[in-house]
Assembly symmetry: C2
Homo-oligomer: 297 residues x 2
Amino acid sequence: MCDIIPKKLETSEEKLNFINSFDNFLFDCDGVIWHASTVLEGVREVLYTLKKMGKRIIYVTNNSSKSRATYLKKFQKLDLPATLDDIFSSAVAAAYYVKHFVNIKEDEKIYVVGGEGICRELEEQGVHWCGSDDDNKPISEEEFTEIQPDPKVRAVMFGFDVNINYRKFARAFTYLNSNPDCLFLATNTDMTYPTKHLEFPGTGSMIHTLIAGTKRTPTVLGKPTTNMMDCIIQKFNLDRSRTCMVGDRLITDIAFGKNSNLSTLLVLTGVTTVEAMNESKDIKPNYYISSLGDLHA
Amino acid sequence: MCDIIPKKLETSEEKLNFINSFDNFLFDCDGVIWHASTVLEGVREVLYTLKKMGKRIIYVTNNSSKSRATYLKKFQKLDLPATLDDIFSSAVAAAYYVKHFVNIKEDEKIYVVGGEGICRELEEQGVHWCGSDDDNKPISEEEFTEIQPDPKVRAVMFGFDVNINYRKFARAFTYLNSNPDCLFLATNTDMTYPTKHLEFPGTGSMIHTLIAGTKRTPTVLGKPTTNMMDCIIQKFNLDRSRTCMVGDRLITDIAFGKNSNLSTLLVLTGVTTVEAMNESKDIKPNYYISSLGDLHA
């Protein structure tokens, strides 16, 4: 059971007190900042105000498919305050984790199942990789005997990959199955991938092919794990007591803040209703507000 | 606990008594009849002898990728006694199951993740299908909005597919997730796929992407389920008390016979040793023999 009673931010005084309690705000994006490519009402103004007040803003997303540079273009197009450094995707977390928390050697590499987001971020950290788009072509009959264990593959990094295929499953499986020292890393475990009207399988679904086949459990680097937060806290040298996680999902965003002893703000513009928040037994936010756009100081 | 004490077939008399006890023999292939494309010593002679004695021989395999016609060519090339009718793969079971145990309508179809084996067998049974090789091309950005639920898809049939891709996962996920009446069928749940030197992910591993994503449990049609045996018994009108399942694996072949109240013979030319058989608590064969090739009457 969770003994937090979420406090609703209503009056200007409550909102100002809330803002003054923190120096750093971590924001989930979809459902908080925007829906698809439409910025939610009032959010742009709130973000610029927070920036003007000297607050640090970090956008935290489990999407690992885009690089930060590609992501930044979206922020710029939508006229939202952001620099490359303000964006922290699970791809950034993954690369940061490999560089700073894994003792990877110069001649070792990461086998990537995933998109360019992960590869670019690994390169930024000076970490060698293989796989990804290079393995998009379908597997040939010869490869059923050619694919071999490779002790130089220090980790399999599994993220969202629209070009998933048997070649990638077979390679990842072989590296993990043949070498207990080969790490098994996942950018996130989101079970579904939201499209415009439907949900498709997410990273957390697809990685179950490898979990079932290898009987190994991946180290997850995205929300809501403390691994991702540890990377954020260390990279930006944040004071946890002065940092608030803002999101629309209890089991990813709010749990993410809570797991790492941060304060949390739930917005009701995404998937969670006030009823669901009240009914939730384990995960409740410290604060909630109907919309981030309502956070006028 | 299992109270069977496996009886070793040693003397000519024991072997002849064993053979005389049955009219029908179901054989697993790999590890029993052949290793890859080499027939095990003495096996050809034993099979021809059984045929000459008027026994019915049925080859039972979980491999769903090849059609029976393609499979038959292997038997002919290896000079083994077989007709199209003697071959019963999980693809045959799957098609037979859909035709005889599912009330499928004329305008309904099966979405196939798998190879030509399944498609040809469905056609044999006059069942419409979609998917398979037609969905081998990678998913495009437009399809992220184009793929839609389809009430005409009566079942998703998941088998081994070297051309597995995101398009297939997304389609199968959408049909299963949007329609609780859409059946979820699996040709088998073998976790690994043996190659010449290594193991790769099997059908049972890959299907976990859909199990995890949809939270649904597939109906499995291959060994060791009684579904497959029910199809065999019905199709060939066999007397269970006069039928023996012969295999090299306890958890697939021997369990397969046992689950359906058949007698079982374990051969030691495959993955199971006599020590493993003795140590097994739950699954023991009624009979065992060092090699099928030793079954000279």
